[in-house]
Each structure stands twice: as structure tokens, then as C-alpha cells.
């Protein structure tokens, strides 16, 4: 029994080793999956909020530092807070996606503020945002443009 099982075991070990080696070289973006990506479109040239859920399948935390887009001249990572009955918005440098965990960018919390749309974005459009991580890697993600009075991503959007 034993000798016949050995080769399989070795193969398994080899595979695990290869995966591990691959893991070390993999970038943050390789381990992050985006879902429920959407933009609340406001009339005219008003800034819009973008929301997404980021899942990290690695054993290391990953830090989102912002995003770029060909559709908007400026994108900023922001956080809304309500303290003492006052609503405030502040810029943040990074948002950590914990190891084997997720970070949620959702209304009244973290969001990407999109400013200066190069061409008007309409509800129903799909807008590509390139998420940036602290190791320099990037993740291109499709965001669904939704009407101003939407309250969430709507029907599930599979992320990539």
C-alpha cells in the first residue's frame, strides 16, 4: 500500500510547493476579487460615489490605495462618517482588505469619489475603474452606473 501511495503524495507536495512559490510572486490584485461594483450617477457634472466589495483570498492583508479611470479625471478614496449628528467626508490613503476577508465600500462609509466625468455617464452604462493596491498592482473592474435614487448594486453583478 505504502509504496503505491507515495508518488501521489509527492506529486501533491510538489504542487503545493509550486502554488506556494507562485503565491509569493503573485500581486495583491491577483488575490482580490471585486463584486457588487456600482456607481450612483448624479445629474450634471456633480461628483459621483462608487462602491464595491473586495474579497481577499490570500493569507496576507492587501491595501487599496485608490483608483483611476479613463471616464473620470479624478478619483479619490473617501470615507463618510457621522459623529455627534454631523456628517463629514474625509480623504483616506488606504483601505485594508484583511487576509481571507473582505472590505466593503458602501454608502455612508468608504467610497471612491469620481469627479469630472470626461463624457456624461448615464444609468445603465458600464464604467471601468482600475483599482490600485499598495504593491503597485492594479485590478480593472466594471462598475454598473445606477440611478441617483438606487440604494445598492441592484441585481448581482459578478466581479472580475
Amino acid at each position: 500500500m505504502k509504496p503505491t501511495r507515495r508518488p501521489f503524495l509527492n506529486a501533491g507536495l510538489l504542487l503545493a510547493g509550486l502554488l506556494l512559490a507562485g503565491g509569493v510572486q503573485a500581486t495583491a490584485a491577483d488575490h482580490v476579487h471585486a463584486s457588487d461594483a456600482w456607481i450612483r450617477v448624479l445629474p450634471g457634472a456633480l461628483p459621483a460615489g462608487a462602491y464595491v466589495t473586495l474579497h481577499n483570498d490570500s493569507a496576507q492583508p492587501v491595501a487599496l490605495t485608490g483608483a483611476t479611470s479613463t471616464a473620470y479625471a479624478e478619483v479619490m478614496l473617501h470615507h463618510s462618517s457621522t459623529a455627534g449628528g454631523m456628517s463629514r467626508m474625509s480623504m483616506v490613503d488606504t483601505l485594508t482588505v484583511p487576509a481571507h476577508g473582505e472590505a466593503v465600500l458602501a454608502p455612508a462609509g468608504y467610497h471612491l469619489m469620481l469627479m469630472k466625468a470626461k463624457t456624461p455617464v448615464k444609468p445603465g452604462d458600464t464604467v471601468k475603474l482600475t483599482l490600485k493596491f499598495s504593491d503597485g498592482s492594479t485590478l480593472a473592474t466594471d462598475f454598473a452606473a445606477r440611478p441617483a435614487n438606487a440604494i445598492d448594486a441592484g441585481e448581482p453583478h459578478a466581479g472580475h
Binding site: L42, L46, H78, G85, S87, P107, A148
Partner: protein
């Protein structure tokens, strides 16, 4: 001390009986949100609506009013609050025609009636955008012990405005009745608005 204390007893009994009997029209409504009846002044202001027309608080007598301060360059919390109020209005069905969302801009420098018009209508057709001079908006804000502060801007002149997140609800007579936060449950908002809309509705 003793005689006064004894005098109070029959009064208390009477009150208790009144509460037990119930059913009378002056009975306080079983509201779920923070009841501010008698603690805040009646709805009163002089501002300009999103059609460019001068309006006062008296123009909204007969409507249940949801008053909220914000600004159009606010991409996150203001739209969320207005979107949630839209859902509440949808749930009220035809009753919602008896209510108005008054969205008062705390950013007089950037919010014009035209921008406000496009903005509020993207949320709900029963929402009205109100603008005014910094002094007029400040007066209204102070009247309801609310506040706003323009934060320092960046090199491009972009800036944020920190502002009170409360929603003030007035009955059809313009009396302040309820205070809600943006995180208030929609069920509670629907429940209480139902009560206010059912009360004093013109048949």
C-alpha cells in the same frame, strides 16, 4: 409638603383613568421616531425653491414636511438619505402626495435653483430643493439647532461641507413633530408618516 402631596394623588388617578379610557382625539400618536413635539419651533423660512420661486414655510402648510440639510456636491451621504426617503415615499403609495421632502442646500456658493432642480428630481418627484443666502440658510439651520461648516478646499477649489444629518418632520400644521437620523429604520419612518398623513388630512 404633605397636603400638596395628597392633592396630587387624585390628579394622578385622573390621568391614569384618562390613559386607560384612551380613544379620544387628543391622545398622543403612538410615534416610533424621536418625538420633538413642543420642543422645536414651527416650520418657518424664507428661501427660493428649485423653480426660482420665493417660498416661505407657510407655503407648505397642509403638507407633512421632511426637512433635510445637505448639498449637491455631496456624493455619498446626501444621495443615500434622499434615496432612502424616496423608498419611504414609494412605500406610502398615494398618501405620499400629502408629503414633501424639503432639501435645503448648505452650499449657497455652488447650489443654484437649476442644479437643485435636476438633483432633487433625480430622487423623488415630491422633493423640493431650497436655496438661499448664507444668512437665510444659517437662520433656518440655527432655528432647528442644526449646523454646517464649509471645510478647507483643495487647490482646484473643491471643498466639502460638514452638516447635520438629522431629518426634521413637521405635521400638516407646520408643527415640529419628529426627528429622524439617516440610519432610522424605513419601517419606523413609514409607520410614523402614515400616522401624520392620516391626521388632519383634508377629506
Amino acid at each position: 409638603m404633605k397636603p400638596r402631596y395628597l392633592l396630587c394623588l387624585p390628579l394622578l388617578l385622573l390621568l391614569a383613568m384618562g390613559a386607560l379610557l384612551g380613544g379620544c382625539r387628543s391622545e398622543p400618536l403612538p410615534l416610533r421616531l424621536t418625538n420633538i413635539s413642543g420642543h422645536m419651533p414651527d416650520l418657518d423660512f424664507k428661501l427660493t425653491d428649485d423653480n426660482g420661486k420665493a417660498v416661505t414655510g407657510a407655503d407648505y402648510r397642509g403638507k407633512v414636511v421632511l426637512l433635510y440639510f445637505g448639498y449637491t456636491h455631496c456624493p455619498d451621504v446626501c444621495p443615500l438619505t434622499l434615496a432612502q426617503l424616496h423608498v419611504v415615499m414609494q412605500r406610502l403609495g398615494p398618501l405620499a402626495d400629502g408629503a414633501r421632502i424639503l432639501f435645503v442646500s448648505v452650499d449657497p456658493a455652488r447650489d443654484t435653483p437649476a442644479i437643485m432642480h435636476a438633483y432633487v428630481n433625480a430622487f423623488d418627484k415630491r422633493a423640493v430643493g431650497l436655496v438661499g443666502s448664507a444668512r437665510a440658510v444659517e437662520a433656518l439651520s440655527k432655528r432647528y439647532r442644526s449646523a454646517f461648516t464649509r471645510e478647507p478646499g483643495d487647490a482646484d477649489g473643491n471643498y466639502e461641507v460638514s452638516h447635520s444629518s438629522a431629518i426634521y418632520i413637521f405635521d400638516r400644521e407646520g408643527k415640529a413633530r419628529l426627528l429622524a437620523t439617516p440610519s432610522a429604520s424605513q419601517d419606523d419612518l413609514v409607520h410614523d408618516l402614515h400616522l401624520l398623513l392620516d391626521t388632519g388630512a383634508t377629506p
